[in-house]
Structure formats: structure tokens, C-alpha cells
């Protein structure tokens, strides 16, 4: 997939664990793992907003487009 999810990069920068982020944005760790591994087919605006709020970043910091 050409959309890369950089949640793990931002998590490392903010020194935040998966469990803490999952709790803050209100999703399960399994779903966060799906997002991190790029298996997710879509992301809700509400989830994106919660991630941006928890990691104090912009959507562009989390999602990146790369040509195949």
C-alpha cells in the first residue's frame, strides 16, 4: 500500500508506549497494532484526531504517501 502509517515513529519521538496510546485514543492494542503494521484499510477522522491530540502532531506526521 502506498500510504505509510508512521504512528510508531511518532510514538518513539514522544516516548509513548502502545498501551498508553491505545488507552488515550480509546482503541484496543490489537487495533493499534493493525494500524501500525499497515494492515488497516481505513482510518476514521475521529481516530486520527485522537491520535494527533495524544501525540501532539499533525495528520501529515502520521500518514505519508509513497509511490509503489
Amino acid at each position: 500500500m502506498s500510504i505509510i502509517v508512521n504512528v510508531d515513529v511518532m510514538m518513539a519521538r514522544r516516548k509513548m508506549s502502545s498501551q498508553e496510546l491505545a488507552e488515550r485514543i480509546g482503541i484496543t492494542q490489537a487495533n493499534l497494532s493493525i494500524l501500525k503494521t499497515g494492515k488497516a484499510k481505513a482510518i476514521r477522522f475521529s481516530t486520527l484526531e485522537a491520535i494527533c491530540k495524544a501525540l501532539d502532531c499533525q495528520p501529515g506526521d502520521i500518514l505519508e504517501y509513497q509511490e509503489d
Partner: protein, 236 residues
């Protein structure tokens, strides 16, 4: 749109249109190439039914049994100016009807019958194959119903099973249709009736075909549902 779904929908639509058209405006018979009986006496009579009609067979206890073979055929009168008439009642209250036979059960002594010398093992083999097939088919139906009852509807196994059931129903119709056509053609060439011709008429139940194609369409809809469910499950 799913490629298979498009094909199945087109086939279903075609079958429904054909079945509606044939049930509303067709005459029921295909052309018969059977010639009237050749030289020789022709009779069509009402006779007392003999008690011992059939080929006799005596078992080890000395009991005699009579064996007959029955064929069900569609018939039309030959153009020979002969018709069956039924008359009942007194001269003042007489009810006369012209009887037009369309379907006849022909009974003949087993020893004189075409197909009458079929070996028993052929019947047994056929019966075993049919029973085996029926058990396998019921197994598929049972597995599918159990999955659906457990709430597992949008999974590939259910879709595959429903498609398989649909294909089997269509195949049953096709086999029935081909078998009836071949057998009727055999009867047309081997059996001669006085003043009547044996004709081919498609008596197969078209509901098998419609049901089969409908299930095939449903199987593809379930497959699309499965994809939507997967997408829904992977939306974070």
C-alpha cells in the same frame, strides 16, 4: 461489480424470461419426427385388464409373479382421422367426449420391453451413486445452515457452499433434461403406438434451475458482503 455475479445475474434473468415466455405462449411439444406405424393392423381398443399381464416368473416356492415395465411418455394423435371418444348415459342423456391423450403410461411385459433386460447390478450401482451423492449434498446443506445459524454468514466457506449447492441444482436440472430427452428419443425410435405418436416435452422442473441460479447469485452477494465486513473490521 463482481464478474461472476454479473454472469449469474444474466443467466438467472435469461432463465426467468424464458420460463415466463414458455409458460405463457408455448404449445408444449417439440416437433416429432416419428412416422405412423408401418404396414400391419392398427387397433386402439378398450379391453378388460388381464389379471396376469406381464412376464411370468416362478420362485423356489412355486409362487408365480408377473413383471411389467412402465414408461411415461407424452403423446399426440397422428393425423389419421382417428380419435378416442367416451360415451356414457342413455340416448336421452348421453354424454360424449372426445378424449385427447397427452401423457400416457405404457405398460409392457418385462421380457418384451426395451431396457427390460437391464442387469440388476446396473440398478444397484446407480442407486449407490445416487444415495452417495444425496448424502454428500445434504452434508453441504447441513454445514452451510449450521454456519448461518452460528452467525457466520459473511465467510468464504458459506459463499462457496451456497455456490456449490446452486451448481448442483442446475446440474440436476441439466442431467434430468438430457436424460429425459435421450430416453424419449429412444422411445420415439423403438415404440410404435396405434394412432398416436410419442413426442418430446420438457417436463423437468424449471424451479431447480431458477433456485440454483438464485443461490449462485446469493453466493456472490455473500462474497461481496464478506469483503465489506473485512473492510469494516479493518477500519480503525
Amino acid at each position: 461489480m463482481n464478474h461472476k455475479l454479473r454472469i449469474y445475474c444474466t443467466m438467472l434473468l435469461f432463465v426467468i424470461v424464458v420460463s415466463v415466455l414458455t409458460s405463457t405462449c408455448h404449445t408444449g411439444y417439440t416437433e416429432s419426427s416419428q412416422q405412423p406405424a408401418a404396414a400391419g393392423e392398427m387397433r386402439l381398443e378398450v379391453l378388460d385388464s388381464p389379471a396376469n399381464f406381464g412376464s411370468t416368473e416362478t420362485d423356489s416356492n412355486g409362487a408365480t409373479s408377473y413383471h411389467t415395465v412402465t414408461y411415461e411418455v407424452n403423446v399426440v394423435p397422428n393425423a389419421q382421422g382417428k380419435s378416442l371418444f367416451s360415451s356414457v348415459g342413455t340416448p336421452s342423456d348421453n354424454q360424449t367426449y372426445k378424449v385427447k391423450m397427452q401423457k400416457a403410461k405404457l405398460e409392457i411385459a418385462a421380457s418384451d420391453a426395451p431396457f427390460g433386460n437391464f442387469q440388476t447390478w446396473i440398478y444397484i450401482t446407480l442407486a449407490v451413486v445416487i444415495i452417495g451423492f444425496a448424502i454428500w449434498f445434504l452434508g453441504i446443506v447441513f454445514t452451510t445452515i449450521r454456519s448461518i445459524r452460528m452467525g457466520e454468514i459473511f465467510i468464504s466457506q458459506v459463499s462457496k457452499n451456497i455456490e456449490k449447492i446452486g451448481i448442483i441444482l442446475c446440474a440436476i436440472y441439466m442431467v434430468e433434461w438430457i436424460a429425459s430427452y435421450v430416453v424419449t428419443q429412444y422411445f420415439i425410435s423403438h415404440i410404435q403406438l396405434a394412432y398416436y405418436s410419442i413426442v418430446y416435452k420438457n417436463d423437468c422442473n424449471i424451479m431447480f434451475l431458477i433456485m440454483g441460479l438464485s443461490l449462485m447469485v446469493i453466493s456472490q452477494v455473500i462474497l461481496m458482503g464478506k469483503e465489506l465486513k473485512e473492510e469494516q473490521d479493518l477500519t480503525i
